[in-house]
């Protein structure tokens, strides 16, 4: 499409600028809030009058740290484990779907689809009752299992779309060239599949990191509570005061990892999310 006129090009650039503004203004707002001192919080303007690190001190070293640090730990452990398990399981399933021919392939895919649109709220009460009985309530494994319901379907899809693009014939070609099947797998298939697996892992992590419903329903204390659920437990300088500053600071902290991932891997993530459809 080299035929863009200057006017058109300027128009698209303006469009691009608008997109960047669209994406960043709400983020900038919460960052700005997090740097407001207690006096500034009610100033009702976008920016603080003076930058203050009080809110961050509060959640990392002050009263809020008892709540925030364990929650951060829980979130990281839970989401990483849920992602790891989902990606490993989905990898096997996606391999089978992309390469093998077996009855029920369609059933696996359809059920992944069905789980992806299943209302999370419907899962909460029965799981909560079961977890109480078997001692999984308010534990990290008790969160990882339902997180699989969020992360597995998308992992299966994304990865099977990736795997279908892998030229599997190369494996046989390598074997013909004298490589053992393990060598052929390791030297040829793994490098081809790794980007897809990695991208899937990032997307699955985003989804697990986003969870709120399971967090507030299946945990109750800092033992297993993830950050989104813990945000509502912050307190201000007194029992009744809204902890706007602490919430903003904690919100910024939990946003940093996902923004970093988006920053570094933007091409891969976009490819992962659009992959199946693009190849046409």
């Amino acid at each position: 499409m080299g035929a863009l006129s200057t006017r058109e090009r300027v128009l698209w650039y303006v469009g691009a600028l608008l997109i960047v503004l669209y994406a960043l203004v709400p983020v900038a707002w919460i960052v700005s809030l997090s740097f407001k001192s207690e006096t500034d919080l009610a100033n009702r303007s976008f920016l603080p009058t003076a930058f203050s690190g009080d809110n961050y001190r509060e959640i990392f070293a002050g009263n809020g740290s008892d709540l925030f640090l364990p929650a951060l730990r829980n979130s990281i452990i839970t989401c990483l484990l849920a992602t790891l398990i989902a990606v490993v399981l989905a990898m096997f399933a996606a391999y089978a779907i992309a390469r093998l021919d077996f009855p029920g392939k369609r059933v696996v895919l359809t059920s992944a689809l069905a789980v992806a649109v299943f209302p999370v709220i419907t899962m909460v009460t029965p799981l909560f009752n079961l977890w109480r009985r078997i001692g999984l309530y308010d534990t990290i494994p008790g969160l990882i299992i339902p997180y699989l319901a969020l992360t597995l379907p998308i992992s299966i899809w994304t990865m099977s779309a990736f795997f279908r693009q892998i030229p599997w014939d190369m494996e046989q070609a390598a074997q013909v060239d004298g490589a053992t099947s393990w060598q052929a797998f390791r030297k040829v298939i793994v490098p081809l599949a790794a980007p897809g697996v990695f991208t899937t892992a990032i997307i699955a992590f985003f989804i697990a990191w986003n969870d709120f419903v399971f967090g507030i329903s299946l945990t109750s204390t800092s033992r297993a509570q993830p950050v989104p659920a813990a945000l509502s437990s912050f307190t201000g300088s007194s029992y009744f005061v809204q902890p706007t500053g602490a919430i903003s600071a904690a919100a910024v902290v939990v946003t940093i990892p996902v923004v970093l991932l988006a920053l570094v891997f933007q091409r891969r993530i976009v490819a992962g999310l659009t992959n199946g459809a693009v190849k046409g």
Binding site: G15, Y22, I30, M123, I154, T255, V258, L273
Partner: protein, 321 residues
């Protein structure tokens, strides 16, 4: 807003080669392959079925009882009475109305903005491309709860600056006191957070529109606007329908934004928060399970309408049709 989903591989099963090979079923090789297939896909499948199948069956069973968690001795079988209570309660209908309204408004707005974003991403090249792509991924990656707090604080009467931006409402206008303005802010947060996802799906669809058809239309003297309606959109129909279905199902399950921003006050209750209130806050497991089942039925109904009524073909969305 938990599971943001992409549909791309949903049509994988419709593999014409698979049918042919299935005809050869019975040979040792295919039996071996089938077994390996299930060994590999089985664990994921079992987990998927267990974590959703068990809860929905349990919820169906519980919904037939009057059962309060703090008074387990008073548990009593009531048949379909809970459903009767729900269907005759104005609160259910207003929650359902809000949910449908939020779904329709957000999905419609997101389709338009999402399409514009996709067009820009499609056209912008060079050094701007990664910047735009990263920017668009930020709302997608941000936690819904964080987005909810950001928008709530922006409109809040003590902390927010929006009253000076939208100066004509006055300095003391309380956005969360009125049902419609509260729903507006909820929709804004929802739209901001999920438009990027829809735009990525549409971007994939844009890439499928054959460039030569554009050129041909141009030669015929069609304006850019005519080309958009006659060439681009018809060719993207499949991906638009898929984006629409998935976002609609996602929007229908809205919970986080409402819970954080209003907690259902000012008449902003939605179906998911209604279910949450009955089971988790009131600990009325029976009544709450019935609401959950109703929510599930609504989701099924949307799927059914989309697939039968609008013939959303998930396979074609992948360009395989």
């Amino acid at each position: 807003m938990s599971a943001t989903t992409t549909p791309q591989a949903a049509g994988v099963a419709q593999d014409p080669a698979g049918r042919k090979r299935a005809a050869r079923r019975g040979t040792d090789r295919s039996r071996q392959e089938a077994r390996l297939g299930w060994y590999l896909a089985g664990p994921a499948f079992v987990i998927l079925v267990l974590v959703t199948g068990y809860p929905i069956l349990q919820a169906l069973y519980d919904s037939l009882w009057s059962y309060r968690l703090t008074a387990p001795d008073d548990r009593e079988f009531v048949g379909l009475r809970n459903y009767g209570v729900i269907l005759t309660d104005p609160l259910w209908w207003s929650s359902l109305g809000n949910t449908v309204l939020i779904t329709v408004v957000t999905v419609a707005v997101e389709l338009v903005i999402g399409f514009a974003l996709a067009m820009v991403m499609h056209k912008v090249l060079g050094w701007l491309r990664p910047i735009v792509r990263t920017a668009i991924l930020i709302p997608y990656a941000i936690i819904t709860v964080v987005s909810a707090y950001a928008w709530q604080y922006a409109f809040d009467l003590t902390t927010g600056f929006m009253n000076s931006v939208v100066w004509w409402v006055g300095d003391d206008y309380d956005w969360f006191a009125n049902k419609w303005t509260a729903l507006l802010v909820i929709c804004l947060s929802e739209i901001w957070k999920t438009t990027p996802f829809i735009s990525l799906l549409l971007l994939a669809g844009l890439a499928q529109v054959p460039e030569d058809m554009h050129e041909a239309a141009k030669v015929d003297g069609a304006t850019a606007w005519e080309r958009l309606w006659r060439v681009t959109l018809p060719n993207m129909k499949a991906s638009i329908m898929v984006a629409l279905l998935f976002r609609a199902l996602d929007a229908f399950r809205i919970f986080d934004n409402v819970y954080i921003m209003t907690g259902g006050a000012a008449g902003t209750e939605v179906v998911s928060s209604l279910a949450y209130n009955q089971t988790i806050s009131r600990l009325e497991i029976g009544l709450g399970s019935a609401v959950s089942v109703m929510l599930f039925l609504c989701v099924l109904l949307i799927c059914f309408i989309a697939i039968k009524g609008f013939r959303v073909d998930l396979a074609r969305a992948r360009g395989e049709g």
